[in-house]
């Protein structure tokens, strides 16, 4: 990589919440600190991290839909331009689109067809082709979310990103609950998007999934980028990654012996290993 301006550039990004503790005392909880990553056009970058590590918040920050008690620091850039709130509002749905994490992001009183249709551009053809592609038959078009199976609803969510024509797609856990063939179909369409020159940021807790599609993997723990590694190298051997948390992730995979990551807290080592985890794009 290198000289080209990345589609998305995240640098030293921090995110914290203001909360009221005891007796109206304000306390700040930091969820993401010093996160650095970039996504170029035509590549898939996976962000892998445990539950509650702040992955969804990162996605929401890029789209400017954080809760009001959140504050951010560091910089987010889209095509080299600093992402201010007003720029985010202009870009979202057009240049940047989100595949949200859960089915609750579907309007309970809206039919599938309308749901997939972008609120900004009315294109019946696009809806139709997306529905065919994700095996949502014609009868699914007039169904409400409560009438869809978990997998179908998930496919509707993915479909929403494809009707937007965005250059950067942020997929927040796009595959849980999907049948193996639909997982392949989903990953296939993410790859296709990348092949078309779009950038994809895929958020997942499943490093195996990241190995399958991603060009690069950012390992994320407790709000810190532990390291960004080349996916192929990472998959081949844990020796190709530096940080103990990354190594542990690798060892936890079934094909590598299934050693649990849980039992141990890598918190201190992360702090110590920050330098070692610096981005390494060589």
């Amino acid at each position: 990589m290198g000289q080209r301006i990345p589609l998305l550039e995240v640098k030293d990004f921090t995110l914290q919440f203001k909360q009221y503790g005891r007796g109206l005392k304000q306390i700040e909880t930091r969820v993401i600190s010093g996160f650095t990553l970039d996504v170029h056009a035509g590549e898939i970058v996976a962000v892998v991290g445990a539950s509650g590590s702040g992955k969804s918040l990162l996605a929401h920050a890029i789209l400017g839909i954080l809760p009001s008690n959140a504050a951010t620091g560091g910089s987010l850039k889209f095509k080299g331009e600093e992402l201010s709130q007003s720029l985010k509002e202009r870009l979202r749905g057009k240049e940047i689109s989100l595949i949200p994490q859960s089915v609750s992001y579907l309007d309970p009183l809206m039919t599938t067809g309308k749901q997939i249709e972008s609120p900004l551009r009315k294109a019946a053809n696009a809806v139709k082709s997306v529905m065919n592609r994700f095996q949502l038959g014609d009868d699914a078009k007039n169904k409400y979310p409560f009438q869809l199976s978990g997998g179908m609803a998930r496919r509707v969510l993915i479909g929403t990103a494809l009707t937007s024509g965005a250059e950067l797609v942020i997929a927040d856990e796009p595959t849980p609950g999907l049948h193996k063939s639909m997982v392949d179909e989903t990953l296939g369409s993410l790859k296709e998007l990348a092949a078309l020159g779009r950038g994809v940021l895929m958020i997942t807790h499943d490093i195996d999934l990241a190995f399958v599609v991603a060009d690069r993997i950012a390992v994320f723990n407790k709000g810190l980028t532990v390291e960004v590694a080349d996916a192929k190298a990472f998959e081949a051997s844990p020796d190709n990654v530096k940080h103990p948390y990354s190594k542990a992730l690798w060892h936890a995979l079934p094909q590598n012996g299934f050693h649990s990551v849980r039992g141990k807290d890598y918190g201190e080592e992360i702090d110590a290993g920050c330098d070692a985890g610096e981005e390494d794009d060589a």
Partner: protein, 344 residues
Amino acid sequence: MTIPLKPNPPLALPRFVILLRYSGKKALRLLLLMFAVSVVCFVLMKFSPIDPIEAYIGGEHASLPPEQIEHLREYWGLNDGFAVRYVKWIRGLLEGNMGTSIVYNQPVADVIAEKFSASLLLMGTSWALSGILGFSMGIIGALNRGKLVDKFIKLYCLTLASAPIFWVGILLLIVFSVWLGWFPIGLSAPIDATAAEATWGDRLYHLILPALTLSLTGVASIALHTRQKLIDVLDSDYALFAKARGAGKWLLFKRHGFKNILLPAITLQFGTIAELFGGSTLAEGIFSYPGLGKAVVEAGIRADLPLLVGIALFASAFVFAGNFIANLLYAAVDPRIREGARRI
């Protein structure tokens, strides 16, 4: 009712069968309710200290010869025990005869028909007005949450929700009729005109203040409810997602807000018919508006049992119909109920 996830179960019933079965169940319940209401009315009257004859002829009671009074008692059927009177009344009812009103000396059905047409105008106007006004106020408040307009709407609703109708009515009466002289003090038509002579213009003119009284107090619950519902929608995940897809405030409301708040508003508005009935009784009293509300008060204080039971039954059927319509509409608008009901 559990909501099945699987699409199209094989045992979906035709829609009208469900509707029929539902209506049948409701009709049965209404009959039971009316039976209970009539019994309660008779029991209450049994313990009422008011003597209808005394109330009917007023102070001249003493001057009337006892045989005359006895004759009247016989005529109104007051000499029977309450149980006998109840049986006679039920028998009449089954033949379509609701009895004769003592106060108006007319068949109860006729009295109700006449008074209700006046009340309907009043209730209908204030119902529609408070519904539309309250719904809009709720939307405006929610879309401007925390701003001055919102605070004002909230303050208004909270004040009005706890203000008694008679207080608001008297206030309006004092300000607009007594001080400013813009509106008549009461009645539904000019006092020197007979009912047939009164023009629509006259009627509307006399309607404004009582209708305003009911609407001003009626908006509170629907406005607060709609406001909260819309806020919930705007805070939902799906609204967040719509924002992430580029929808602005107005589009967000159009695409997701309206349909999601219309439903609870409709239900609530039909559910308020009971309150409206009670409210119009008070408003009619204040403005001497000759409707059903005034008639029921007369029936009560003058121990006119046939009229009282008649109005009570009519009112329960009316309120029941309101709730029934609310449920049907609810089912028609909400797909979760509409589609879900077919597979019970």
